[in-house]
């Protein structure tokens, strides 16, 4: 049995690894929620890498419809062809499988990532219930049923922009990625910058968590901002002491003017 234990570039907490393995064993979609920047999307890549499976990503946008993931009937092409006297009676030519269809058709077991499902319309998840349950769908135009050859591992991420419907939730295994604590964050930083000095790392993390604790900050910096910040500090070779005292390059951490102001007031520098 395949078993996920994190990977060299992705540090998974114990409960996250358990959730991934539970979802795989029970063959249910794994729904991942969490603050932005806690590595929800990265998780699917890490699982795919660790298990040596192909990753199929379906990015959801506000205009995405459930149908897009199954197949698209390219009527425009058909119309175009018909104008030039080509035979258009074979509809198969104009059916293009979407990401879900692609995952079902694959000969090998794949990981299917449905990224940011909450971006789509409120009804979107409900439209996928049958397909995710049965791992098959029907194409009326060609009277074909596309059925998964190998049941894909489905990972779904959500930023909680919208509430997901109950019926959908009931079918998922749920995991919430809490913001990592300092210990865990040190491991994550280590995984990204293996050659980072220990003192430096500790110092940066201390400053980082101190900033996160400031109550009046509106958008708290997340993991990805921390990693960018470390990169910036390393490239410019800022001295260790100044990191916590002055918070250089705070613009990398903070994305809002108000927050930058709060920060400079707190730390009393320009």
């Amino acid at each position: 049995m395949n078993y996920f234990e994190g990977s060299s570039s992705y540090v998974a907490s114990e409960d996250l690894m358990r959730s991934v393995n539970i979802a795989m064993a029970l063959e249910k979609p794994l729904l991942i929620k969490g603050e932005p920047g806690t590595g929800k999307t990265m998780l699917a890549q890490a699982v795919a890498d660790a298990l040596g499976m192909e990753l199929v990503i379906w990015n959801i946008k506000s205009t995405t419809k459930a149908q897009d993931g199954l197949y698209v009937y390219d009527t425009v092409q058909r119309l175009y062809d018909s104008q030039f006297g080509e035979s258009v009676s074979d509809i198969h030519k104009y059916i293009k499988l979407g990401k879900l269809g692609e995952a079902f058709r694959s000969e090998k077991k794949v990981i299917l990532l449905i990224d940011e499902i909450d971006k789509a319309d409120l009804e979107f998840p409900n439209d996928l219930l049958w397909e995710l349950d049965r791992m098959e769908f029907y194409i009326p135009e060609t009277q074909e049923t596309v059925k998964a050859k190998q049941r894909p591992v489905v990972i779904i991420t959500s930023n909680a922009e919208k509430e997901l419907p109950d019926a959908f939730l009931r079918r998922c295994i749920f995991h919430y990625i809490a913001f990592p604590n300092e210990q865990m964050m040190a491991d994550i930083v280590q995984a990204h910058y293996p050659d980072l000095e220990r003192d430096f790392c500790e110092q940066v993390l201390r400053a980082f968590y101190r900033i996160r604790e400031v109550g009046s900050i509106q958008k708290k910096p997340s993991t990805s901002e921390l990693l960018d910040w470390i990169q910036a500090l390393r490239i410019t070779g800022v001295s260790l002491e100044s990191v916590e005292r002055e918070v250089p390059f705070s613009g990398v951490l903070m994305k809002k003017n108000e927050d930058l102001d709060t920060l400079s007031k707190r730390w009393g520098h320009r």
Binding site: D15, R18, S19, N21, I22, A23, A25, L26, K28, L31, K33, T75, V76, R78, L79, S82, Q83, V88, L122, A160, E161, K162, E163, D166, L169, R170, R171, C172, I173, F174, H175, Y176, A178, Q183
Partner: protein
């Protein structure tokens, strides 16, 4: 199998369905919990709980069902000092330790713990018996024990009941957190796409056009459809100043959420002080220069506007019930506030009142009698994430279901 645990979860307000329960049993059959309580904790949580807002309820229920842990809260001072000098984990044979301690019932663990607390008189680290660090004893931290309870220190290897009784997801409970984003999410409920309703078909339907054209052997045949657009119009009325000051940041958050959601066909915001009379104001300071006749608003905003009033409805009864009761001394209203409220409810089918005062305090006291009076006129909801959701549901409900 542990059906009573399911019952307990349901009494804690978790809506666990039978399907989810069967999934959990399936997981147990496949041994996904690895025969440990910790494994069971994660398995049950992943399968049964579908929102981080419910994690806390789950933890509370879990801790109660597998009870016993919450009684250790206070440790003797010296014990804490010993535990504050940890050593790193000594090498150990996991299987041996598991065999020695595995499967011990919680009551037994707790009994032994209390025994040790009485017996122990000095620091013990790296061992398997005393309370200490870095060893394989059931008590202490920085060590390994399959059944152990962490005492002091920070977590590394932890047990299930411990994690559950920490209740670290308390902050995620919906009834305690209020944030801009959550308000915004709530406001998205206020959607009504005109595609569902009557309206001119004035947008080209590409798919249907192509289908029709193909069906007619390439002869162009244009098809039209109705545009999908949110048709909800909102009128927000804020009580401003006075007793509302302490709720200022809450009201600002609500205002921003409504303003930023940027999805309504129209959003109008006016302010009033305590109750509305002949004039409303276009800014929160309610100065005379910013006033606008209430009748104008009533006449110019059609009746399909959805009205949300934000206010504590907390005022002297005469402000609401008597002519001339307006709190502004120089202002003499001929009709009492209640009449103006009724003018609104008569004009606008969909109207709700959001009250920042917690629901429990709405009635009972003489000073708050005005809340009761207002409640009889307008459906009132608490100004919280859940209250907002309920009120918006009421706004979206079919006509006649106020």
């Amino acid at each position: 199998m542990f059906y009573d645990f399911l019952e307990l979860l349901r009494t804690y307000g978790l809506k666990v369905s039978v399907n989810e329960w069967l999934t959990l049993l399936e997981g147990l059959k496949q041994d996904l919990h690895g025969d440990s309580l910790l494994g069971f904790y994660y398995l049950a949580r992943a399968v049964l709980v579908k929102s981080e807002a419910d994690f806390d309820r789950f933890d509370a229920a879990f801790a109660r069902y597998f009870k016993g842990i919450e009684s250790i809260k206070e440790l003797p001072k010296e014990l804490e000092d010993w535990l504050a000098q940890p050593i790193t984990q000594r090498p150990y044979d996991k299987d041996e330790v598991d065999k020695k301690f595995g499967g011990m019932p919680l009551e037994e663990i707790m009994r032994q713990f209390e025994e040790r607390m009485k017996e122990q008189h000095e620091i013990h680290n790296g061992g398997s018996y005393w309370i200490g660090t870095g060893g394989t004893s059931m008590f202490g931290h920085g060590g390994y024990n399959p059944n152990g309870i962490r005492i002091g220190g920070t977590s590394r290897n932890r047990s299930a009941v411990q994690i559950a009784s920490e209740r670290k997801f308390r902050d995620y409970r919906e009834d305690s957190v209020l944030e801009l984003r959550q308000f915004q999410i709530a406001f998205r409920r206020l959607r009504q796409f005109s595609a569902d309703m009557l309206g001119p078909k004035d947008v080209l339907d590409v798919d249907a056009t192509i289908q029709e054209t193909c069906d007619h052997a390439g002869q162009l045949n244009l098809m039209f459809t109705r545009p999908r657009r949110n048709t909800v119009k909102v009128l927000l009325l804020f009580d401003s100043g006075g007793s509302m000051d302490e709720y200022a940041s809450l009201c600002t958050t609500l205002f921003q959420a409504a303003n930023k959601s940027n999805q309504f066909q129209d959003l109008k915001v006016y302010y009033f002080h305590n109750c509305f009379y002949d004039y409303l104001y276009t800014d929160p300071f309610c100065l005379r220069s910013a006033q606008i006749p209430t009748e104008w608003v009533l006449q110019n905003l059609p009746q399909d506007y959805k009205v949300i009033v934000v206010g504590d409805a907390y005022m002297s009864p005469y402000e609401l019930l008597s002519p001339g009761g307006c709190i502004d001394y120089y202002f003499n209203n001929e009709e009492p506030g209640i009449t103006w409220i009724r003018k609104f409810t008569k004009r606008y089918q969909k109207m709700v009142w959001l009250n920042p005062i917690p629901e429990d305090f709405w009635s009972g006291s003489y000073y708050r009698s005005t809340i009761d009076t207002v409640m009889r006129e307008v459906p009132m909801f608490p100004l919280s994430v859940q209250g907002l959701e309920r009120s918006l549901k009421a706004l979206m409900a079919a006509h006649g279901q106020r």
